[in-house]
């Protein structure tokens, strides 16, 4: 077997992730054929690239490397928490996916569940202007607590909880931030405040990344204890991991803020036309 095929095969097979990725991918394609999701290639390209990144991060040998190298683990979380959900949110696939789902499933189960007060209430809470960024940054800080990190890398179920929590929170956060609508058009947070939130949320990430990158001691000894995927000095591994937590993550927020500024200008133009 070619080594690149071996690399792409699941390291720890997740039927749930396969079902979700395949289900979302098919429903999206079906919804687009039915006319939802807008014209052009940009949005489907972003959507499928996002799905592919999720698969790459969670199901290939990259996942094995993430378990045994700190900086690869940080790259994995950059993909799961920033890059992949960012692309998926940018493509605004909700309408196309909803349209593409089997009618029975949509009308009998999903739509009523989505409209139920408990779900609405939980969603509103998670997407609150203060809760969402605190959760986003808080999860990064939580899983990078050296004690918790140790157990997450040692326990297979806890490791899954960690990675799924990053992916789901990433989706929630970027869907909230990249919503093209203004507050008046139904968005949960106004476009202007979102720019501020995106930029403020970089500060704790810069602080955490810098703290790790500049630390003179090995904070995450679990990698040395369980063995690294290849020989690299522990501090070098840690410095790279800290830099990844620090710079590309902050850059994603700046790119996000630029997207929001673009959305803001378009929303203003729409409002002017309507007036």
């Amino acid at each position: 077997m070619a080594s690149w095929i071996a690399f792409l095969l699941p390291w720890e097979f997740s039927p749930l992730l396969w079902a979700l990725l395949a289900g979302a991918g098919f429903a999206y394609a079906r919804g687009r054929r039915a006319g939802a999701g807008g014209a052009g290639r940009a949005r489907p390209t972003a959507f499928y690239a996002g799905l592919a990144l999720v698969y790459f991060a969670m199901q290939t040998r990259f996942d094995y490397l993430s378990q045994h190298m700190f900086y690869i683990h940080r790259l994995q979380h950059l993909l799961l928490h920033h890059a992949a959900p960012f692309l998926i949110a940018l493509s605004r696939p909700q309408e196309a996916i909803a349209r593409g789902l089997p009618q029975r499933l949509r009308e009998r189960y999903l739509a009523p569940a989505w409209r139920s007060p408990a779900v609405r209430c939980a969603y509103r809470l998670l997407q609150n202007w203060l809760v969402a960024p605190v959760l986003f940054v808080g999860l990064i800080a939580l899983w990078l607590d050296p004690q918790i990190h140790f157990y997450a890398m040692l326990s297979a179920p806890l490791y899954l909880v960690m990675n799924w929590s990053m992916l789901l929170d990433g989706l929630l956060f970027w869907v909230l931030m990249l919503d093209p609508r203004s507050r008046r058009e139904g968005a949960l947070i106004g476009l202007g405040p979102r720019i501020g939130l995106l930029l403020v949320a970089t500060l704790p990430q810069i602080a955490i990344g810098a703290h790790i990158a500049l630390s003179p001691s090995d904070l995450f000894n679990v990698y040395g204890i369980c063995g690294r995927a290849w020989d690299i000095p522990p501090l070098e591994d840690q410095q790279l991991g800290g830099l990844i937590t620090w710079i590309p993550a902050a850059m994603m927020h700046v790119v996000g803020a630029l997207v929001v500024i673009g959305n803001w200008m378009r929303a203003d133009a729409r409002a002017a036309r309507a007036a």
Partner: protein, 190 residues
């Protein structure tokens, strides 16, 4: 389901921070003992063979210049400190270098640390399964001009109770005295 499992794990995690052990408490976090490896005496050694014994599991190789001999010597000292109770402990030394470590060589090496030390070997495929189970890994460096090579590997010592449940994780920083105290307590449970 996943959420309930996570909550149980978090509760266990909270509980495991206490407990008064010197080592890391890994109860409920790491799977039970599973082997299926060859020893010098038998082609297949299984976890059930060690029922009733506290078992220590360590991954290493006989050409190892540092981590393995120091760790095994520390375990030898800890078992010696335990006196009679130390005789019932079994130390399983699993090679991450099956190409160079035959079962005979392994057993000669392991026995040097005491009669409780058992060398175990499997081919690469089985070894990888076992490493995956315990979320440890190893990687071989490129051989030098003499064909010698080093292997980067785990330095953890997993401790299992008499029922084969994973209980403790000893780190390189654990002292022989701490290990002896924890093992005495673990052996006293069953």
């Amino acid at each position: 389901m996943r959420l309930r499992r996570a909550l149980v794990l978090l509760a266990l995690l909270a509980a495991s921070c206490g407990g008064g052990w010197h080592a890391k408490n890994i109860r409920g976090l790491v799977p039970s003992l599973e082997l299926g490896l060859a020893s010098v005496q038998r082609p297949e050694v299984h976890a059930a063979d060690f029922r009733g014994h506290v078992v220590l599991l360590f991954f290493g190789y006989t050409h190892c210049p540092d981590v393995c001999p120091t760790t095994l010597a520390k375990l030898q000292q800890a078992l010696g400190d335990m006196g009679e109770a130390g005789r019932g402990v079994r130390v399983l030394f699993v090679t991450v270098d099956p190409a160079r470590d035959s079962v005979e060589l392994l057993q000669r090496y392991a026995s040097a640390f005491g009669p409780q030390f058992i060398g175990l070997r499997a081919d690469d495929a089985r070894l990888q399964e076992l490493c995956k189970r315990y979320r440890v890994t190893y990687s071989r460096d490129k051989p030098d001009a003499h064909g010698d090579y080093a292997v980067t590997h785990s330095s953890a010592v997993f401790a299992f109770d008499g029922e084969g449940r994973a209980r403790l994780l000893f780190l390189p920083s654990s002292t022989a005295g701490d290990i002896a105290a924890d093992l005495r307590r673990l052996a006293g449970e069953s």
